[in-house]
Symmetry: C2
Subunit: 333 residues, 2 copies
């Protein structure tokens, strides 16, 4: 297996990207292709012991930054590390592409310029794997499509179902729509129009509507929403988690006794933080394009990059692309 | 000033509702009208020292529960404590109505059967006052209107602006739309169509789009969204906050050292929790109906009810209804 890692992806590229790729090559004995500025990558590789590892470097003369406009840079930088990396997957020279780069650019380059959509897929879906107390929930779409039609949501459900089944190993994952209430009659027009379609999907364990709290409590394996709502959902969860921990830090460090308590509880805080650390997951797939693409957070460190490669490896092993191709074709017939 | 308190509102009615009303009558020397089952209210009142307080009881033969369907109960229980209470405001016998009851029923009864909308208001907005590290943000709509038109959002902005200015005392509150990104071009179709309208509102300090993290960081005083998105936003924040504190509790109590640390940090946790406790705020207004209506959480305790009455008092003192009537008329002309 050969997995392409975008060396120019993370906020602090190419350090974490290269380091994480080296860790992945060593840990799983897989082939890694680092794409990006060849000189910079080689300089970075010299910091690591890469003896016996299968690491190739492929040069890309351009790179896309976090503040670059997605559609413009996708069009104007045809030799970016993202273009080059995804083309390697497109031509079969590699099996998957992992990046911590500009999500909008990945989406545009994958959909419009390189891999393209799997036949029959109306819209690709960005996903997130959201950790909670009892495991995690896969959320789709979290931002590829701000406005959706009911058929898009039904396809997101099929793709996420196949992903969770084949990659995360849950035989019959529970699928729910995110809504403003579980009761009948709740939901906006999109949700109301999607419900009948969900009921018709064969082989999908559609359990109805959930609110954010149920989604974060392990009451579903998959939560489906349009990209606007999903983005608000994910970002609200991140913002609130950061608010609560900021508030606790402020109060704990405000007195001597509580500061001592803070020292004693530090390992507990670290364990808690690790349990919901997105870096432990590494990244999540862009579903619906014709090749495995894993997108990690811009703030990714080396461990996060390594784990993003792990997600890519699992998706390749689960043959997710073939599964989605068959699943979408079947649903359309 | 006379404020009506729904004695049958909270999950544990009438105990917290009556106790909170008594506290409010004593603290601010205002008139309170308790509506609901007269015998039950009087029995509850006997537990308190009400000497010298201006507390009246008005009987209502029906009450609406949390699981009752809003529109059905609004129609079928015309003598509910909510109907009776809001009619007292409608006829001028009282100045405001506060309840911790079924939000959907309050909305239906206010809009369709009693107070009705202020002339020119297209849709009423449910609001929340969301506490954060640097103060609070007023969110509207959080669930009255799952599907909105751009004009609705613009009116929510006007009403929330007037509320924050006149009741919370911020001369020129910052108003933002909640979106999936701050940059131009972000947003779903509703947001894109609302932006031009926001720019045309005179006297409103529209600062653009914000993401959840900015809204929770004090970068705006008001955040505007359709009721579906707003509901997901608010509930995601609540769910994530509860997830983080649950996780910390689990980890802190998992070992002896961290448990001791937990004891030492307990006051810090309490202070943190109090700073973002919705009960300290008590409730938030239903904006756009022709009378002051404050809705608190079903789980309200006596302190929360007292604070909901405080919100009602502040809204009456701020003459918010007259301000919205004038503001909406002006915007339409």
């Amino acid at each position: 297996m050969r997995i392409v890692v975008d060396a120019m992806g993370s906020d602090n590229y190419p350090g974490p990207d290269v380091a994480g790729a080296v860790m992945a090559a060593r840990e799983w004995d897989i082939g890694i292709v680092l794409v990006g500025d060849e000189a910079a990558i080689k300089q970075e590789l010299e910091k690591h012991n890469t003896h016996g590892l299968r690491i190739d470097v492929v040069h890309a003369s351009q790179s896309i930054g976090m503040t670059d406009k997605p559609t413009e840079s996708a069009k104007d930088k045809p030799d970016s590390s993202m273009h080059v990396g995804m083309r390697l997957v497109q031509t079969g020279e590699a099996d998957a592409f992992a990046t911590a780069g500009n999500t909008g650019a990945v989406l545009a380059i994958a959909t419009l310029y390189t891999l393209k959509r799997i036949r029959g897929v109306k819209r690709p879906a960005l996903t997130a794997i959201v950790p909670h107390l009892a495991g995690s929930v896969v959320a789709a779409d979290i931002g590829a499509n701000a406005d959706c039609k009911p058929e898009f949501l039904a396809q997101f459900a099929i793709m996420a179902h196949l992903y969770v089944r084949r990659v995360m190993g849950i035989e019959l994952p529970r699928v729910a729509l995110l809504s403003n209430g579980e009761e009948e009659g709740k939901g906006n027009q999109l949700i109301k129009d999607t419900i009948p379609l969900m009921g018709k999907l064969t082989g999908i364990n559609y359990i109805g509507n959930v609110e954010p709290k149920e989604a974060l409590r392990g009451e579903t394996d998959i939560v489906i929403h349009d990209g606007f709502t999903g983005n608000i959902f994910i970002k609200s969860v991140e913002a609130a988690a950061s608010l609560v921990s900021g508030l606790l830090k402020e109060e704990i460090t405000s007195g001597i006794v509580s500061s001592i308590g803070g020292l004693l509880t530090k390992p507990a805080f670290s364990r808690a933080s690790k349990r919901v650390d997105p870096f432990e997951i590494g990244g999540a797939p862009l579903l619906g394009v014709d090749g495995v693409v894993i997108i990690g957070h811009g703030r990714s460190n080396d461990v996060a990059i390594k784990n993003a490669v792990r997600q890519a490896k699992l998706a390749v092993e689960g043959e997710i692309i073939a599964a989605i191709r068959d699943g979408i074709a079947e649903a359309r017939s």
